[in-house]
Assembly symmetry: C2
Homo-oligomer: 431 residues x 2
């Protein structure tokens, strides 16, 4: 399948000449479109204004040799985007193709559903856009009955994403013979294609700086969905980390964010030797920052397996460092609690083991079953003892200056969670 | 595709009436055939002697409702297995089908290659059978030219596995019109089917008690192949564990073997408080036993994701227990080495962390990349520090009565291996 990207718009309200080159959450819109459509498309056809080489130059610099694409020039962008569309006709030929707008931002989920559909992709429950500004569609017998921004009575909203064939060009040609300015909605009204539903997924057209900001914010928020977060993460950490991610997404790569959280974590361990309360707070801060790499990665379509792997390994060493620091600094407290040095060393080892094994048991689950334990076994989301929860408790105990209790709680919480995981996995496996 | 299983033989040399019911490495031959063919077949057709209900009863008890099968009765097994085959004709119909012998044992690798082939599946480099006893095949123009046990000049050996169609029944019918006793080789000689090659994989027909023993031994040995074992495992542990597995495969489930190794491991940790040398030897013994669950599971086609998961989690707790025991018993040795109690507690924690993280980093790799790190990154097979190697070194240091050095070596070996893994994964990822 080919994909036609209409990129002849002015973007006048943005103070930019080429809207597809705008960065939304760390990625230019055109890169988003290419990355998301690439697995489904064998050639891209960009229709650009002939008086502006920006997009052409950008594609040549960044995508040449990586994807197959063609640039079609539009000398008369003032004739409307329906006419722009018609210009792609020759480059596309007879086969089925995807048509989408160069200034629209789509989520991966949207694209993966939409590419399997046909006709106009309509959103029947738009959640992320201003419906007043949107192009509305009236549907009858599964096909477009009417389309326009001012429709009072409508069924869905035009997402700017279509799966069409040569008949769409024929319709555009018929309209172009009648009219000088041809809007895409004129073509769709003429064609009356079928309407397919992809509702509730994220997509947006970016017309104003406010919408750009909004799109960024939404992409970061959506990057958190379904992450198997613990209680503290859901109700505290993510509320802070998403705000930080919004600020940093255009400036930091996910790998840099991973390293940032790692170094803050190591710093918190070193701080144990200075001030336990401050150390606890900085540790909790590192736990907040730990969410950022993933948020930035998903929002900017930069997730990588190496990033996921490295993040987990470094997290374990941060947790290790903090426990190590607490154990070393407060080792002699065994006298205070009547533990004996042997009891204390056992406590420390149980704490470290519990802490690492919670993660080990779920990662090994994923390695064995090739599925996320949190998605398969719901009860694992309810048992406490996840990293965000442990670190929060550790902070509280640091603030209360109870380092030995901290070790005891981690030892209990961690190993009890592993024991519960064994029971839960067994029960799930033989179900 | 259907599968025809010829099961009318006498098995006179085995002292059994139904050879398909023989247990080979913990599984009856008929169960092996069903388990391995199940993913590729929608119905099984068993042709059995009408004077023996054993197979029919067994299938009804164990497979009814689990796979679709049909039993065809052969009132005249003395007419030969070519005639037995002909009796399946009605149950099979016109479509392509698999034909195989009820007394043949195949490996998973063999079956997965063979089901994609056509005609007679020939082994051009038989490694596991006695060629003198085998049915030989002369090939010409890609087809069977001649077939028989006594062929002097031959190209491959008949594996008893065929992918045929209705023309094979027609050939059998023609032979049956001419002859009273119809061997399958007569049918093949008449049909002259194409010959497909699956060479060097394990398959065997089991005719004598010696062959039964040999098949068991080979299945156990083959279960070890490509396991990403460390040096000690390859050269010591597996040599012992496979022999134990041969003894136990008919008596122990893989889960029981996992628990056995676990309890021996925990016992070794408890022994630290009695006698370090004995503890070290028992720990090494548990490392040997740790191979058995996997060997039994693979040889008896009983691998399970839960088994794999549980085994790994329990291994971590065995290693933890042993280090814990050493740390607790020998904690006061810090004085001897001038470490200070803080130094000692740090050493203990580094040892535990290194020990767990070697496994964590490779399991997390599998979770992220959905591939085995050992298969992707060859250098990981060369860096020392795998579990089998660590435990062997621990045993040596126990025998030398050097518990603190043991902790230091594990701390170094483990964490250095993790560091090396990070470098290796990074290099591999950006390749």
């Amino acid at each position: 399948m080919k994909a036609v990207i209409l990129a002849s718009g002015q973007g006048s309200r943005m103070g930019y000449r080429s809207k597809p080159l705008l960065k939304v959450a760390g990625r230019r819109i055109v890169d988003r479109t290419i990355i998301l459509l690439k697995p489904h498309v064998d050639e891209f056809v960009f229709v650009v204004r002939s008086d502006n080489r920006e997009i052409e130059d950008y594609l040549e610099k960044n995508w040449k040799g990586k994807v197959k694409y063609r640039v079609v020039k539009n000398p008369v962008p003032e004739r409307g985007n329906g006419y722009t569309f018609l210009l792609a006709s020759e480059a596309v030929g007879k086969e089925r193709f995807i048509l989408t707008m160069g200034d629209h931002v789509y989520s991966k989920e949207f694209v993966e559903k939409a590419v399997k559909m046909r006709g106009l992709i309509g959103d029947f429950r738009p959640r992320y856009i201003d419906v007043d500004e949107a192009t509305k569609v009236r549907v009858k017998d599964g096909r477009v009955y009417d389309i326009g921004k001012k429709l009072k009575d409508f069924d869905c909203v035009d997402t700017g994403f279509f799966v069409l064939d040569y008949r769409a060009f024929e319709a555009a040609e018929r309209v172009a013979e009648r009219k000088e300015v041809v809007e895409l909605s004129d073509v769709i009204r003429e064609l009356k294609p079928e309407v397919s539903e992809v509702s509730g997924e994220f997509w947006m057209d970016v017309d104003t700086p406010e919408e750009l900001k909004r799109a960024k914010k939404l992409l970061i928020r959506l990057s958190v969905k379904g992450r198997g977060d613990g209680f503290i993460s859901r109700h505290l950490n993510r509320k802070i980390s998403t705000r930080i991610s919004e600020l940093l997404v255009d400036h930091l790569t996910p790998d840099q964010a991973t390293l940032l959280a790692f170094f803050v974590g190591i710093a918190s361990a070193l701080l144990v030797f200075r001030n336990l309360a401050v150390a606890g707070i900085v540790y909790q801060l590192s736990s907040v920052l730990d969410g950022i790499d993933g948020e930035i990665a998903r929002a900017s379509l930069r997730t990588s397996k190496f990033g996921e792997w490295m993040d987990s390994v470094l997290d374990r060493y941060v947790d290790f460092s903090f426990l190590l620091a607490v154990a070393v600094r407060y080792f002699s407290f065994y006298q205070k609690y009547g533990l004996g040095e042997k009891g204390m060393v056992a406590l420390v080892m149980f704490a470290l083991m519990g802490c690492v094994m919670v993660s080990y048991s779920t990662e090994k689950f994923k390695a064995s079953y090739r599925k996320s334990a949190y998605e398969c076994i719901n009860v694992l989301n309810c048992i406490p003892g996840k990293r965000d929860e442990r670190i929060f408790v550790e902070m509280i105990l640091c603030l209360l200056n109870l380092p030995v209790l901290l070790l005891a709680v981690i030892a209990m919480l961690g190993n009890a969670r592993v024991a519960a995981t064994i029971v839960a996995v067994r029960a799930w496996d033989v179900r």
